[in-house]
Symmetry: C2
Subunit: 615 residues, 2 copies
């Protein structure tokens, strides 16, 4: 049996049929793929059917319409439902939907922005909601447009702390333009979830976190309808719709049964399921078009226009910490209306507070919640802003999974981590980033910058605004001499040969604070750690016969040493002395700690001298 219809009215009987179609299509695509999550899709089918036919305001022909609502599947594994929805609204064909999970298809195992309607990649649970909070924050505070942000969450992901970080910020900022739908189908991957169908637990928690909870039967269309309607009128608070649902709903053989998470139905079962669900349908939903309106912020899509920006300038006699220069430059970048900033309650250390004072409407205090800090940046990136997020470099490690996923989302975010390395001194190892270069280099689409003086920092901060991807800059605590003039130019993938002669016997690489020691060798300031300046490194290798001393305030693995070695891996004749932080650091003065770590001046000189003398 196959039903075909186009319906612009949205009576609940149609919605009921639509829900069945979404289930059938979720089964069809996953069975064709031989994998996927049909049962997790079936539990949420009625919720999505009501949403797309009666509430969502979306121009499917123009995913870039700034007035579109946002719909984020935080439970990304319900991708069969997402793609079934795209078919129902006419965004993709049935045939494309059926390419689910095939190599080359846009219908990936978990949704990614390879398709225009997907804001961010999901699939690492507990991330869609935090990012949605960022989107909603942009909608309310920057765009000032009435679009609504809808998020579909699974119940398993409610155990992630990031969900509660997100709800905390959603209520703190009064995001009544946000509705999270908890699809409480009771069953996780390996059995019952922590709280099963105890929706009252979720209700109490949502309420205590400042949201308006509405508990409903997630298969009763009228109740869903009322809940969505109510969520649009919750002034000042986000809404959480806690929907009690049944995993595998609609196919009696597997409804509410364990052992069916993440499994496609075998073809014979799929046939029985489709039959029980009323057969294949091709109903079309006409989603409401959004309002018209323009973002209030004056943001512009496209390249950052730096002609509007007057960067700070430092004199050769100035001693200014790179973190301070970052703050100064960020204020200058505030001239661009799409530059926004957020910080994790350390803005007086990262110097993002300067931006907060100059542009309070475009600064967002996220408090000590680094996952939400990065998620907010990603959400604002979705809305076309240029977010700069900052905290101590060590604490971006708290958000590493968010940064990883931001890469997969092809988000454009800028992260500035201060207080890197043992150089911070007395605070001790918990505050020292010593693995940030390794971990952030390994993120898809990342750029890693590590300036050593204030003029360079200012220029690189401006460059960050112009650069897509996950752009990370490492700044340091202490103030050191200014070595570049204000007219020096820098680029992503560049480096500076600070000192050279044709007779150099050793190349010294020590980005950041270590680049200024007076060693009688070729000195390269490798301020762009990723991508790295292979050409300059090759030339140095040629002149100094492959002899490099690489010094870094970072653990030995995966940092600047690895970056240089990876770049020159296909060259012959390398002989590298690598000085990195050996041993677990303690508290002490910066110089004491650098010497103890094996990256002190004496050790650098010794390594360079030894290598220069080698045959």
């Amino acid at each position: 049996m196959a039903v075909t219809a186009t319906q612009s009215t949205t009576d609940l009987d149609f919605v009921r049929q639509l829900g069945q179609q979404l289930r059938v299509d979720s089964i069809r695509s996953s069975t064709a793929a031989g994998s996927g999550h049909p049962t997790s899709s079936m539990s949420a089918a009625d919720l999505i059917a009501v949403l797309i036919s009666r509430y969502l305001q979306y121009d499917w022909n123009n995913a870039k319409n700034p007035n579109n609502d946002h719909l984020i599947f935080s439970k990304g594994h319900a991708s069969p439902l997402y793609y079934a929805m795209l078919k129902a609204v006419g965004a993709v064909t049935d045939a494309e939907m059926m390419t689910f999970r095939q190599f080359g298809s846009r219908m990936q195992g978990h949704p990614t922005p390879q398709i225009p309607w997907v804001d961010v990649a999901t699939g690492s649970l507990g991330q869609g909601l935090p990012i949605a909070v960022g989107v909603a924050l942009a909608g309310m505070k920057l765009d000032k447009l009435p679009y609504h942000v809808w998020v579909l969450c699974g119940d398993s992901e409610l155990a992630e702390g990031s969900i509660w970080e997100a709800l905390d910020k959603a209520s703190f900022y009064g995001l009544s333009n946000l509705t999270a739908i908890f699809d409480v189908n009771r069953l996780g991957q390996r059995g019952e979830t922590e709280y099963g169908w105890s929706t009252d637990i979720y209700r109490r928690r949502a309420e205590s976190f400042g949201c308006v909870p509405i508990v409903i039967d997630g298969h009763e269309q009228a109740a869903i309808d009322r809940a969505f309607g109510s969520s649009l009128s919750n002034t000042g608070k986000p809404t959480i719709i806690i929907a009690k649902t049944i995993k595998g709903k609609g196919f009696s053989e597997i409804e509410n049964k364990e052992g069916w998470h993440g499994k496609a139905l075998p073809p014979d079962m799929a046939e029985r399921a489709i039959s029980e669900l009323g057969g294949i349908r091709h109903l079309k939903v006409k989603t409401s078009k959004p309002d018209t309106g323009k973002p209030a912020s004056g943001r512009k899509d496209g390249q950052a226009d730096l002609t509007m920006v007057k960067l700070p300038v430092y004199q050769a006699t100035d001693k200014v910490a790179t973190r301070k220069a970052y703050g100064d430059a960020l204020v200058a970048l505030g001239a661009l209306p799409d530059v926004v900033a957020m910080d994790g309650e350390v803005s007086n250390s990262t110097h993002a507070d300067e931006f907060a004072k100059a542009y309070p409407d475009r600064f967002f205090e996220i408090y000590i919640a680094e996952q939400q800090l990065v998620a907010t940046a990603v959400g604002m990136s979705v809305r076309g802003y240029r977010p700069f997020a900052s905290t101590f470099a060590a604490f971006f490690s708290r958000a590493y999974d968010f940064i990883r996923m931001a890469g997969i989302s092809q988000a454009n975010i800028r992260l500035t981590g201060s207080h890197a390395g043992v150089e911070i001194g007395q605070d001790g190892p918990s505050q020292m980033a010593l693995e940030d270069l390794a971990s952030l280099r390994a993120v898809w689409s990342s750029i890693v910058l590590y300036p050593c003086d204030p003029n360079q920092t200012a220029k690189l901060t401006a460059l960050m605004a112009q650069t897509d991807g996950i752009v990370y800059m490492r700044t340091t605590r202490g103030a050191y001499p200014t070595i570049y003039g204000p007219n020096e130019t820098f680029k992503v993938g560049g480096s500076k040969v600070v000192r050279q002669s044709p007779k150099d016997r050793v190349t010294l690489i020590g980005a950041g604070v270590l680049a200024k020691k007076k060693i009688p060798v070729r000195v390269i300031d490798l301020y762009s750690v990723k991508p790295v300046d292979v050409k300059t490194l090759r030339e140095a290798a040629r002149v100094t016969k492959g002899r490099f001393v690489i010094v870094e305030d970072h653990y030995p693995e995966g940092g600047i040493g690895a970056a240089v070695l990876e770049a020159l891996a296909s060259d012959e004749d390398l002989k590298v002395a690598h000085l990195a932080v050996k041993g677990l650091p303690t508290s002490g003065k910066p110089d004491e700690l650098m010497n103890a770590a094996g990256i002190g001046t004496r050790q650098i000189v010794a390594a360079a001298t030894k290598l220069a003398a080698a045959r």
Copy 2:
């Protein structure tokens, strides 16, 4: 004025004096250091004074006494208070306390286990409480000893999702042996915290998360006393004492004032403060000794005795995924009473479920909360167990800051991450660990293992039990041929030369699933990625004149390629072809994705052939 007294009674007037002493000493040590957090110490001084004089049961002369209570400063920056407490109980001298933050002193900027009374390093906020939950879980479910776990939290860190992950698990597991003290002093690093003194918000949240909240004035000794007393009798639930306090309490010039976070008082101010606080005292507290008792679990301190373990054995004809062999081996290791396991609701994928079935009393379901997953492992490591935590390798990135801090804590934990690399196929990039080797290699004290067959996996899993540090093993989704016999031996820092002849022209390194391709070259199975087998690599470099083909199912940065290059950095004559995952992967079949990523068989053969032909 200086008061000296030793007091074994614990009347509240003494406690009041003790609180003042703790404040004075916090000021003295930080002023001597010229940095630190005296005001954050002063707010909590009365809480700690009551605790150590009337509730804490602790044998300061024997920090290893298994019956000791645990006291964890989740707000690690209150270290001046912690060290002042150590002086008051006689664990350290006043002179040692005064070495605060000096190079070589144990009195570090944030507490670390360099001193025996500290369970774990803190200083990255929101971690002490989650780890305390792990300790309390061990106390209740494994040790079955009556010790109590006390945690001091700051209010700023309550914005961290990890706090709520922790409270969720604390109540889920009914940890009435846990008391968290929220020191709500209203002021964070840069101004007011998110909720200031709105203790009612915290009360409602704590209650909704299944804890018993008690709101008190944190400077009223009698109220503190009643709250602690009450917390010891809360059957079945953890207690949260929400103490309204004043930052800088006791020194009128800075009480409740902004701008005094993380700042030592200048000497003249310190003098006035000490005077206002009643001068320098040297009161001694006689803390109650704990009960006697032995852990019920039969755990033994010391080296794992593998003679009790009968590892699984696989035949040459078997095709078994390494993740399956991990599960099998973990069950075998269950013969050791100190082996415990925990998983993030994916145990049927990681195969930790086999252990859960065999040893349900020693398995802990943490659900989808990876930060708490690692924190639980760390907490159980504190109690002398050998924890094995598992989830998808990609999702350990969620706990990267916890893993980083576990390194600083010198914890001994084992992490097994399954589903690494593009090899997982259809699920797509969100589920693929492609940066795990880079990020985990860069963690202090880490060991990184990457087996390629089931017999090897079983042996390495046993080796993990015997190995200290942060021991990470990467397992894969698919089943591949068994290449090692059951009698092969493996070691941390080892490798296997799978194939060799004196005439080899190229060395092929492709740990894990890539090691078995038939290339006419020397093949090294580099199963220990960190530490790496430098000797074997050097020998291979000598024979094959520095020509290496390195293949890895990982992004190009910081993984196996970097490990090899770093190891051979000081050697001359390297010529390396590095094949790693280029481009952002999608969904597809494993072979399709490996070819697309540039790590397919054809590409390996081409690279090896080209390199072999090079001069």
